[in-house]
């Protein structure tokens, strides 16, 4: 039974319990299973999931690694919203004294809370989100001016941790399976602005195809939910501008 506690003062909450519904199942289907988890101070959603796996059901599958918001492994749907669970305090997401945890949206489920990330990373490659070398190892290192406009633009996207929260938040991905998604397109935009990347035209060609940046409706869910407060929607707008400029240049 959940008891009201004084969350704000951080008093001991050892006797209180959280009502947690965790999605169990696999690619063929599944449903929510209820658990009661002891409440603790500074408890994250990942702590809750780990407690269930360690104390209630060792067969519960989920994915995590660093637990400090760097690796991008532990993203899940928390109360229907994609979040990095290792940096999400339970007390901030409790709704009616309950919390639900489900696998990330827009990705195939492997088991329970673990999704297959292959489609997500395949789209990074498809968006040319890989380094395109401009020099050999024998050449001097390309100087990067940290104050240049392109470097400042690239800097806005480099903190992406590949957690797929934006991809899970995107309604366009839901409706259009080919769409590359916000993370891959932001990566493409970052490399497009990188002085050390020689694949500008390759990137523009890659993001101008069927599932490319032009499918974005600028709904902004990616930017709203990005745990690192990046702005993939702005990056995609940048790609739209760059591809449009390239479109007219080619016709001159």
């Amino acid at each position: 039974m959940f008891c009201h506690g004084d969350w704000s003062t951080g008093l001991s909450l050892e006797r209180e319990e959280l009502e947690v519904a965790i999605w169990r199942g696999d690619a063929t289907g599944g449903g929510f299973e209820a658990f009661r988890v002891p409440a603790q101070d500074s408890q994250t959603v990942l702590d809750v999931v780990a407690w269930v796996q360690q104390n209630e059901d060792p067969t519960l599958s989920y994915r995590f690694a660093c637990r400090v918001g760097m690796c991008g492994s532990c993203a899940m749907m928390v109360n229907g919203v994609p979040r990095w669970t290792c940096r999400t305090h339970v007390k901030k997401v409790l709704k009616d004294k309950k919390v639900t945890v489900a696998p990330l949206r827009n990705l195939p489920v492997i088991k329970d809370l673990a999704t297959d990330m292959d489609p997500f990373f395949d789209k990074w490659i498809k968006a040319a989100g890989v380094h395109h070398p401009s020099k050999t190892r024998d050449d001097p290192i390309e100087p990067v001016d940290p104050s240049s406009a392109t470097r400042l633009e690239a800097d806005t996207g480099i903190e992406c941790i590949n957690c797929s929260v934006c991809y899970a938040a995107c309604d366009t991905v839901t409706g259009n399976a080919e769409y590359l998604g916000p993370a891959a397109l932001q990566r493409a935009w970052t490399l497009y602005n990188d002085a050390k990347d020689a694949g500008q035209q390759t990137i523009l060609d890659a993001v101008a195809g069927n599932g490319g940046c032009h499918n974005c409706h600028s709904q902004g869910s990616c930017t709203l939910h990005c745990p690192n407060e990046l702005n993939p929607m702005k990056a995609i707008a940048g790609l739209k501008r760059a591809t449009a400029a390239s479109f007219f240049k080619k016709r001159k």
Binding site: T172, G175, N176, E178, Y179, A208, G209, N210, G211, G212, H214, N215, K240, T243, A244, F247
Partner: protein
């Protein structure tokens, strides 16, 4: 589903439609100020190359713009793709072009 070509077509037709829509609204407001009858309006538009080009261009832009927009909605809502989606896009575009073209013909040519 929406590639560069379709995206540019939809944006360019939007740019064309914007001033034409404002012009159309302005003309409507102007035309009803003195209580012009349909016959009087037709008397001014029929045989006018300028009005033929004005509304003809508008109809072409609308046909392209709406067909691409509905294509996106159909694909993302119902998952229609491939040949069926192409057929739908061309169908909507041609129907709008035929209906609009018929109206433009009647108002500015006949």
């Amino acid at each position: 589903m929406l590639d560069m070509r379709l995206y540019m077509l939809q944006r360019i037709t939007a740019l064309i439609m914007a001033p034409l829509t404002l012009g159309h609204i302005a003309v409507m407001i102007y035309a009803i100020q003195d209580g012009l009858t349909a016959a009087e309006i037709l008397g001014r538009t029929q045989g006018s190359l300028a009005w033929f080009l004005f509304y003809g261009l508008f109809v072409v832009a609308v046909s392209i713009h709406a067909a691409i927009g509905l294509r996106v909605i159909l694909h993302e809502t119902l998952g229609v793709k491939g040949a069926a989606l192409r057929l739908f896009t061309w169908g909507v575009g041609l129907v709008l072009l035929a209906m609009g073209g018929r109206a433009v013909w009647a108002v500015t040519v006949l």
